[in-house]
């Protein structure tokens, strides 16, 4: 089966129907243009998934969940060859541009972006692992079916506006990050490949997107004022454009 994920032609044949149905809106049955690159994902047999299940890190998961995790990891690794990178974050589109709110899982990324939905009528296009692609050298955020537990993911793309790393705090504050902090936090919140060649590709992509993107740290509580403050900081230059 072919899927069109993040504008990539992706061949995958999942063993589990639920994964197929989740990816259904990304299904592609047109012709694949000859010149286009195609990403083929690993095919996992039941036996192989059971081998994973026997491992400590996977023992609490169902075979279906394991297959989903492995396919997602395979996809997020292979896209690195094509100027693309995944960031663990919730992607929200506001005023035609996308902000990525990143934090370790369980932090409450979605809680924050849901406030954007409510307050600014913004749209969440991926709730866990959106993909940033360089299109003509410009960073563009894509939804994909590989979106953690909540499965909020839309087949949509939007130019990247800012990357915001969330930190829990009593009071809300926003600071712009320097290159060291931004690099470190980005690397800690993406899937790092083990193959040196792909590590270089990841760095190449990050380097290009870093130069065009603002990076912030948002210390926040769960009050809606956190979103109001963040929005004001991220979109402030618009005030001067009239």
């Amino acid at each position: 089966m072919f899927y069109k994920l993040c504008d990539f032609y992706v061949k995958m044949n999942p063993l589990h129907n639920k994964i197929c149905s989740m990816a259904e809106k990304f299904l592609y049955d047109g012709a694949i243009p000859i010149s286009s690159e195609c990403i083929t994902l690993e095919k996992y047999t039941r036996e192989r998934l059971q081998q994973y299940q026997a491992m400590k890190d996977y023992s609490h998961l169902s075979l279906e969940e394991i297959e989903f995790i492995l396919l997602a990891a395979d996809f997020h690794t292979k896209i690195l060859d094509f100027d693309a990178v995944m960031l663990h974050s919730s992607a929200v589109v506001h005023r035609g541009e996308c902000c990525l709110f990143s934090a370790p899982s369980g932090f409450g990324k979605s809680t924050h972006t849901k406030m954007w939905q409510k307050l600014f009528d913004a749209e969440i296009i991926n709730d866990d692992s959106p993909v940033i692609r360089l299109i003509d050298g410009k960073p563009v955020v894509y939804g994909s079916p590989f979106s953690g537990g909540t499965f909020i993911s839309e087949d949509k793309a939007s130019p990247l506006k800012a990357v915001v790393f969330l930190e829990r705090a009593r009071d809300n504050s926003v600071t712009e990050l320097n290159n060291r902090e931004a690099t470190k936090l980005f690397l800690l919140n993406t899937l790092r490949p083990t193959d040196p060649q792909r590590v270089h590709r990841l760095f190449d992509t990050f380097d290009t997107l870093y130069r065009q993107t603002k990076f912030f740290r948002l210390k926040c509580n769960t009050d809606k004022q956190a979103a109001v403050l963040a929005e004001k900081h991220i979109y402030k230059e618009n005030d001067y454009e009239g």
């Binding site: 690397l187 800690l188 040196p196 130069r211």
Partner: protein, 87 residues
Amino acid sequence: MKVKDDFLLREVAGCYVVVPVGQNAVDFNGIVNLNETGAFFWEQLQNDITEQELLAAVLDKYEVDEKTAKADIKSFIAKLEENNLLA
């Protein structure tokens, strides 16, 4: 003396980082931030060299007196040891 294999030094976004690769990346999820001098030290230490050779390389590259250079090298190596980064 040399740093462990399976680490990759890279300049990115105007800073220097060292990340684990290969099997290392599975066991060690951190990243190391280095300044320019640190990156130079690391580069030199990717080959097996003595502290004396490293000192010579530093004095050759930077305008620095021997005493300061020695102290810098010592503290850098201590940091590597602390973080278990020496082979």
